[in-house]
Amino acid sequence: MSKVKDIIQNKETIIIKGNVAAAYAAKSARVQMISAYPITPQTTVVEKLSEFVDGGLMPGTQYIRVESEHSVMASVIGASIAGTRTFTATSGQGLFYMNEMIHWAAGTRLPIVTAIASRGAAPPWNIWADFTDVINSRDTGWMSAFCATHQEIYDEILMSYKVCEDHEVLLPKFVAYGGFILSHTSKPVIIEDQDLVDQYLPPLPDEKGWPHIFIDPDRPMMHGNLIMPSGFYSEFRLKIQDTIMKAKEKIKKATKEFERLFGRNYGNGLIKEYYMDDADVGIVIYGDLALQMEQAIEDLREEGYKVGMVKLRYYRPFPTEDIIEIAKKVDVLGVMDRGTAFGSPTGGPVSGDVLASLYNTGIKTKVLPMMSGIGGREVSLEQQKDQIKILIRLKETGELPDDLIHGTLWHGKLEVK
């Protein structure tokens, strides 16, 4: 592995794939239990972790190669209940297959962190960047974040343990990044000193485990037995909603502390703004598409357009308050989805949430739901500039593009005869 100094921070970097960055993050976080099943494009995460564990670089860590994703999440749940820090990674179909256990993990209030190398849903088979997989787990009680860079994958996983293991949170979280685009390309990544990571993260769970659930033969506990509708079921669910919303403040705090300690800025944690202060046209965008969009915004700024973008970092909890403030700043706001929500008001998951956030606020900003890069289709810089120019035209003429499909702009689609 070649080593280069990071130009901004003057720290040592190694050039690694996004998946390897995820594996390094699990190592830095000193996870005690890993369970995994191979699926493209996640596989190199678990391959790297196998090297770490079997090579003696993660002493004491247990690594179980199970026979399916359903068993992945079940075994991670078991290990987390017993009071250990856990990690796994999956993609697309694998995440769909473990869906039952995804609900189980959140219902049990376990701080499990799962990396998702996102891919499109089959059929037809698709293994390329598309966030439909993580979005499919939207209503499970898991938090979910999108990464735009290799470094962000490493950093976001570390921040996840900080947030999830907060005793006032205790919820699981996905860290999603585009399959192949980030998972299989190589970039310089700073792997932080273990001492500094240890200083940032909460200590590993003590012998007793988590405060609400543990295995202790001296103090036997029953968990998850049947509860009648007149019991506290409804209140347990309410607690999850209340907690995930209150986690926004914890996320902001963890992001701020991360910046203080490691020197890298991720906005307020939930969103990061680019050139939004004086913008009259903006776009909400997430995942790897956001990285190239920074360039598109800069190019258009040079051409004299007052455009800006908002990198959506968290999908759940959804940064409603931030979206409202963003919408107040601009006349036109585009929302770019790389993922589908069929039959929803816009067809795109995030655009629907942005519209819902602005309802009843009196804000007159025009919102244009947009789609691009579905199933990993390449989105070029020129195309992204074109997307912003469509928004600029909307601002200048007030007229919506005439090729909207059910109110949404599907950009870069092929002509179907």
Binding site: Q32, M33, S35, P59, G60, T61, Q62, I64, R65, V66, E67, S68, H70, S71, V72, A74, S75, V76, I77, G78, A79, S80, I81, A82, G83, T84, E100, M101, W104, L204, E207, I215, D216, P217, P220, M221, M222, H223, G224, N225, L226, I227, M228, G231, F232
Partner: protein
């Protein structure tokens, strides 16, 4: 073989407490009660969807006096694998605290074992995860209202086989033998001493252990609640349910079943079937086939035992 007196002295402690909501005559209750007497309190139990999720008591009441985790239907063996991994990780961080001495137990029904849970179980067995997996077999989905499972015997009437099941019972202990795990055993709630001994033995073995317990169900099988022990005993006497254990590949017939190696000592199958309403539709022709299958099964076991000697 321990004596009844010895066992009763040793096993007076109760871990599955009274006040649970088992049906009267429940086979599962006896199975868990005796299993826990043998395993003791340093046991963490995972139970996938089954009657056991319900009979432990509605929240916040609970009958088990040991750590007990309810789990999703297909996830018994895999969740237990996770527990075992965590105990090993904790033993590394907190040495001399006996974290790796906790028995990780799965207690699953026949649906959760032979149908929806078989993938996770097979995975755990192939990995030789350090868990003790128990199937309490009441031969149908009793919790959801008596639907057929792959462990339901031929001709049994269930709510999804109203004219009797057309396929034979899946022989799961044999499938588990094929995984070459260190310990496989069959038990019956009518033979608590045999069951107690097998659990004692299984507790001290490392790796994946599998115990299959026949646990009759009065409402599901259609017999009076007070006849549960008798039903389980007749299954053994007819030679239909054979008690044996396989330790590191070596099979031995357990004492309660040994005498039925001799076909003359076996009770005619009709006596077992006629006591249960679920077999009311079995035809005479089918009865002959079922009886023949018992003879064939014993012959195969005899051949296994013979082959071991060589």
């Amino acid at each position: 073989m321990v004596t009844i007196k010895e066992t009763l002295n040793e096993a007076c402690e109760e871990y599955f407490l009274p006040g649970n909501s088992c049906c009267s005559g429940c086979g599962l209750e006896l199975a868990l009660r005796w299993a826990m007497k043998a395993l003791g309190p340093k046991t963490a139990l995972v139970t996938p969807a089954s009657c056991l999720n319900v009979v432990i008591g509605l929240w916040p009441k609970t009958a088990p006096n040991f750590p007990f985790i309810n789990m999703a239907f297909a996830a018994g063996a895999s969740a237990a694998t996770g527990f075992d991994a965590a105990f090993k990780a904790k033993a590394y961080r907190f040495p001399n605290k006996d974290w790796d001495k906790i028995t990780t137990l799965v207690f699953a029904g026949d649906g959760g074992t032979t149908d929806i849970g078989i993938q996770a179980l097979s995975g755990a067995a192939e990995r030789n995860s350090n868990i003790l997996y128990v199937c309490y077999d009441n031969e149908a989905y009793m919790n959801t209202g008596i639907q057929r499972s792959s462990s339901t015997p031929h001709s049994a009437i269930t709510t999804t086989t109203p004219f009797g099941k057309k396929r034979y019972k899946k022989d799961l202990p044999r499938i588990m033998e094929a995984h070459e795990i260190p310990y496989v055993a069959t038990c019956s709630i009518s033979e608590p001493l045999d069951l107690y001994e097998k659990f004692k033995k299984a507790k001290d073995i490392k790796g994946c252990r599998y115990i299959h317990i026949l646990a009759p169900c009065p409402p599901g099988w259609g017999y009076p609640a007070e006849d549960t022990i008798e039903m389980a005993r007749m299954a053994i006497k007819s030679g239909l349910w054979i008690l044996y254990e396989v330790e590191n590949g070596i099979k031995t017939i357990s004492k309660p079943s040994k005498r039925f190696l001799d076909p003359i000592k076996r009770l005619p199958l009709i006596e077992y079937l006629s006591k249960q309403k679920r077999f009311r539709a079995v035809s005479e022709k089918q009865l002959i086939t079922l009886q023949e299958r018992i003879e064939k099964r014993w012959k195969r076991i005899e051949a296994d035992l013979e082959a071991q000697k060589q």
